[in-house]
């Protein structure tokens, strides 16, 4: 499988970008900020750590997924390294899959580093762990699935568009994906049959990022229903697979002459 060496190489490239060092610093910053925040507010400090930690993880993960994701293919074409790569026995779909999993691996490491920061903060403030703290790990895994979807979106756009437009499209899709229920609601409340159909189509066609909104619940120590959690994971994986397939299809049709 040539996919694994490409993924490893993509991961190494990301690490060379000094991305992970920044994340370690950020993890430390979370610890420091949670200590400061606990002294200027009233209420459950763990809740603030979880909200802040998981939101940071999600926002930074999204930014990394978009800004590195859009360059995954473009960089190879721009530097013309794609020619030497494709001249070797590397299929185009293997190239795309390798890039995709390489960035996913980078984000997995990113999430683990940040998680460590969150758990250290909790331990520092409470001097113990509880079984309910495992919920944070589950939430982080769901965020990883969400980020895999964002990578797939960025990768898909990067196969046929410039980095600027790819970033713009990916970001817009990410934002729209958080308004899915509004799109559906708008259609349901409309009297027009055409709008009902259109909003229904958009609702199912656009990625629904609201499925991954778990941070607030986790901060309150509430477990997401197992079935709902698994369905959200499945949704993310299936949607990502669809987008990666589309990216492969577009990339296979591209002419590099």
């Amino acid at each position: 499988m040539i996919v694994i060496p490409i993924a490893k190489n993509t991961f190494k490239e990301c690490v060379r970008d000094k991305l992970l060092y920044n994340l370690v610093i950020f993890g430390v910053l979370i610890i420091a900020s949670s200590l400061v925040l606990s002294s200027i507010t009233i209420g459950e400090v763990k809740q603030i750590i979880v909200n802040l930690g998981l939101s940071t993880l999600s926002v930074f993960g999204t930014l990394i997924a978009i800004f590195i994701g859009i360059q995954l293919v473009f960089k190879e074409i721009d530097k013309k390294t794609i020619y030497s790569l494709l001249a070797k026995p590397v299929a185009r779909h293997e190239f795309i899959l390798g890039k995709y999993f390489g960035l996913t691996l980078t984000l997995l490491v990113n999430i683990l580093v940040m998680l460590l920061g969150i758990y250290i903060s909790i331990f520092y403030l409470r001097h113990s762990f509880q079984l309910a703290d495992l919920q944070i790990l589950l939430a982080a895994m769901l965020i990883l699935i969400e980020l895999m979807l964002v990578i797939a979106i960025a990768l898909f756009f990067s196969t046929f568009s410039t980095p600027v437009f790819s970033a713009l499209f990916a970001f817009c899709l990410y934002v729209i994906g958080h308004f899915s229920s509004d799109i559906r609601q708008y259609g349901l409340s409309s009297d027009s049959f055409a709008i009902k159909i259109l909003s229904g189509c958009l609702y199912y066609l656009l990625p629904n990022f609201q499925n991954f909104e778990i941070i607030s619940q986790t901060a309150h120590g509430q477990f997401l229903a197992t079935r709902l959690y698994l369905l959200s994971v499945l949704y993310g994986l299936v949607y990502s697979a669809g987008l990666v397939l589309l990216a492969i299809l577009v990339f296979q049709r591209r002419n590099f002459k």
């Binding site: 925040l37 200027i40 507010t41 009233i42 209420g43 459950e44 809740q47 603030i48 909200n51 802040l52 939101s55 999600s58 926002v59 990410y174 934002v175 958080h178 308004f179 509004d182 990022f209 609201q210 991954f212 909104e213 941070i215 607030s216 901060a219 309150h220 509430q222």
Partner: protein
């Protein structure tokens, strides 16, 4: 040339420090959150949060605490933004229990300690109950505000009774509701309520607040006792008592009676009423 750049950089750093210090001196060391909401609609903020409503709720709650704290430190009496800040925080995260519980205290407390808005405090708690029906403490807080700030003992009893229906509610809720209907706002019931808040609160600020109120109740009791004593002693000695030191001289006390914070009580020789010393830090309503 390189040294010149370094010197310039150092000068810039010192300049920034000097300018910022001058600004801080002008506006004071501690300034409360400015009187701007930026985005007044909680629902708009929720939509724009892209799923990070929990974090934004924490930020808005923090802003509310800082706003309230800033006003308290400056001894300002108007808490114009407080209700809206808490409203936004609780709309962003309807499960933010401490925002309901502490927010209602901030709103209900009399000026200058709070915003003197007990009705708004009750509305906030009712919103909390709607989103968190399993939290019996919110009913207790509603009852408490009706009792303490609005002196509406019937509604207070109703709130305690409503909360007592929750299987996890404290067992005193039901009996207290009945007692409240029978005795109304006696000092005994007030002491019981504050004692309850003091013992069950996990938060230090809440405990401190309850202790302050308990000290006030103790002071009231002591003032009443002193007043009764003076009224009994005066006919016996055949003259008006002009100072509490006289009671010490008559052998009633070894030293001048003091309030729970250690400040001596005073007797107004004109009115004949016992009261707190102007220097006393016992909370006044």
């Amino acid at each position: 040339m390189n040294h010149l750049f370094k010197i310039c950089l150092l000068a810039v750093c010192l300049g920034i420090y000097w300018i910022q210090s001058a600004i801080d001196q002008k506006i004071g060391l501690f300034c409360s959150t400015e009187e701007v909401l930026y985005l007044p609609s909680a629902n708009v903020i929720k939509k724009l949060s892209l799923g990070h409503n929990g974090l934004l709720a924490d930020i808005y709650w923090m802003r509310a605490v800082q706003y309230y704290g800033g006003k308290r430190l400056k001894n300002e009496r108007h808490f114009d933004l407080l209700e809206q800040l808490i409203e936004i925080a609780t709309t962003l995260d309807p499960k933010l229990l401490h925002a309901y519980r502490f927010g209602s205290v901030f709103l209900a407390e009399n000026e200058p300690i709070g915003a003197n808005q007990p009705e708004e405090a009750i509305a906030l708690l009712r919103k909390g109950i709607e989103h968190n029906p399993e939290e019996w403490q919110l009913h207790r807080d509603v009852g408490f505000i009706y009792y303490w700030f609005l002196n509406d003992y019937k509604k207070a009893a109703e709130a305690f009774l409503e909360g007592s229906k929750n299987p996890r509610a404290a067992i005193w809720m039901k009996t207290f509701a009945a007692e409240l209907l029978a005795k109304g706002g006696s000092r005994q019931t007030a002491r019981f309520l504050w004692q309850e808040v003091y013992q069950t609160s996990e938060n230090q600020q809440m405990k401190d607040n309850a202790r302050e109120h308990l000290m006030r109740l103790t002071a009231e009791e002591q003032i009443e006792t002193l007043q009764v004593l003076i009224e009994k002693v005066q006919p016996r000695i055949g003259r008006k008592i002009s100072s509490l030191d006289e009671l010490v001289g008559l052998g009633f006390f070894k030293k001048r009676p003091v309030d729970p914070k250690g400040f001596a009580y005073i007797l107004n020789s004109t009115t004949g009423k016992v009261g707190l010393s102007p220097a006393s830090t016992i909370r006044r309503y």
